[in-house]
């Protein structure tokens, strides 16, 4: 699955897509593949604050719990309610099954994140020879 070029990526395998002052956040296809069957997403409530690099929730596969790290700071404006009953949507299409939307505090934070090409190279290295 190609990594959209209008997204930015973290080394912790989240993606963020900015649209003006707002942004949508999810996890990458590589992350969903590594996790396997996703069964639970523990997400913040609307109004909660996110801080770049800090956890904002967690996601659980059958086997394991993984923390979610915010790619950017901001205030949660929307939570993907579909995931409460159908978290497997993340496995089906991680790049459209978003987790939260935030109002960005500082759009400049996104400059330090990885581009699609950089992220692809990063995961290729992480997967090993």
């Amino acid at each position: 699955m190609p990594y959209p070029t209008d997204f930015k990526y973290t080394k912790e395998h989240e993606w963020i897509k900015a649209d003006g002052k707002n942004a949508t956040i999810g996890i990458t296809n590589y992350a969903q593949e590594s996790l396997g069957d996703i069964v639970f997403a523990d997400l913040p409530k609307v109004g909660a604050e996110t801080t770049a690099g800090k956890t904002f929730g967690s996601i659980e596969s059958v086997k394991a719990v993984s923390d979610l790290y915010a790619p950017a700071s901001g205030t949660v404006t929307e939570v993907n309610g579909e995931l409460a009953t159908a978290p497997e949507k993340i496995n089906k299409d991680a790049h459209s099954a978003w987790l939260i939307r935030i109002a960005l505090k500082d759009r400049g934070e996104l400059n330090s994140l990885l581009s699609a090409a950089d992220y692809e190279k990063f995961v290729a290295d992480e997967a090993g020879p």
């Binding site: 523990d42 993984s66 979610l68």
Partner: protein, 383 residues
């Protein structure tokens, strides 16, 4: 989101004879008790698909990491009786039983399956993570008996063929009459052209099934694995990893060493009374268990089902309704067949009644759970 390590890095990590086969099939590999093992096969559709294949059809598992100890000789029965809690004198030749090796204090060295494979010959199948400890313990505690102790752990590739269609699958590959082999009995027969293969009607899934023990030669193991998959196509067979093995055994409430049983948990706490034969005059751990039986239990293993949203995981704390810590989760997971979030936990007996409610601490929050009857899953009885 830091992801679980996919590649094993330990230099001394051990591999089964099927390791290359798993890798070629694209299995996700993890380190488990020092072994490089498949946790799931994306080509099978992952843990949930693998789990449900075993409940409804058939799945196969490489369980060669399990260890095997053979005791043979005129004193073999006496030795087995001394070191294990079940009554091996009840075993007919070709019969097997669930049992455990205990410390003098009545806690667990390991749980085992004891197979009586000859008149004076027993095979103990033991856990991967406790192989060396178990073998040393068995050897050291059986010196006074007239029997040979052999560690056969590296001699076998052990493949589990589990699920209601398991018998149909394996019957295509063997001359042995599998229908005549009852649950927890063994037979010997030709499998995939190999003579005199041990076939046991045992498993760790709560489902009907078989475990076969073939020589651990790599090429031969690969050939048998492939033939099983080919023969199973018509039954929708899936190769299954340790992930599904764990969720299957949890639904069936089968204990896992280091979780429900350990060197600090005794037989009564674990609720394994029916496999511990106190009418046997002597076995290691018996005296301590006799004393412990008189005292009230401090904790007991119970089944929990999450009532509120959340998944209990191994090691999570359990609180009473008032917020007091009363116990901990030994194993917790979503149950793919039951479609519930279930857990096993040690709690004081006063909280063990079915229907009583407790809270599991999940990321700092007390999440409501209820004590339920176990096993969570019981396979349907055939008419």
């Amino acid at each position: 989101m830091p992801l679980p390590a996919v590649e094993a890095t330990t230099l001394t990590i051990r591999k089964t004879a099927l390791n290359n086969v798993h890798r070629q099939m694209g299995a996700k590999m993890v380190e488990f008790n020092g072994w490089d093992m498949p946790v799931e096969y994306p080509s099978s559709g992952g843990i949930i698909a693998e789990h449900n294949a075993v409940r409804g059809g058939v799945g196969i598992f490489d369980v060669s990491h399990m260890g095997d100890i053979r005791l043979a000789g005129p004193g073999a029965l006496a030795a087995v009786q001394h070191i294990s809690m079940n009554d091996a004198a009840q075993l007919a030749v070709r019969q097997a039983q669930y049992s455990a090796l205990l410390y003098p204090q009545g806690t667990f060295v390991d749980d085992v399956i004891v197979h009586r494979i000859g008149e004076h010959e027993y095979l103990l199948v033991i856990n991967a993570g406790t192989r060396e400890k178990d073998f040393n313990w068995v050897r050291d505690n059986t010196r006074q008996f007239d029997c040979q102790i052999e560690n056969l752990s590296d001699d076998f590739t052990q493949i589990a063929i589990q699920g209601p269609k398991g018998i149909n699958l394996l019957q295509k590959l063997t001359g042995a009459d599998l229908g005549s082999v009852k649950f927890y009995w063994v037979t010997r027969g030709t499998v995939c052209g190999l003579n005199n293969i041990l076939i046991a009607r045992t498993g760790y899934t709560g489902e009907n099934g078989f475990e076969i023990y073939i020589p651990s030669d790599e090429a031969l193991s690969a050939r048998v694995w492939e033939e099983i998959l080919q023969a199973g196509k018509e039954f929708g067979v899936l190769p299954c990893g340790l992930g599904a093995r764990n969720t299957l055994r949890l639904e069936a409430k089968l204990p896992l060493y280091g979780h429900e049983i350990s060197e600090t948990i005794n037989v009564w706490e674990a609720g394994l009374d029916r496999f511990c034969k106190m009418e046997k005059p002597e076995f290691i751990g018996r005296a301590a268990l006799e004393k412990a039986k008189i005292n009230n239990l401090q904790r007991t293993l119970v089944g929990l089902e999450m009532v509120e949203r959340g998944i209990a995981r191994d090691g999570y704390k359990v609180l009473d309704d008032g917020g007091r810590e009363i116990g901990y989760v030994t194993s917790g997971s979503p149950a793919p067949f039951l479609k519930k979030n279930i857990a096993l936990a040690y709690l004081p007996p006063e909280f063990a009644d079915v229907g009583s409610t407790v809270k599991v601490v999940i990321r700092g929050q007390g999440v409501k759970a209820q004590v339920v009857q176990t096993p969570f899953y019981k396979r349907p009885k055939k008419a």
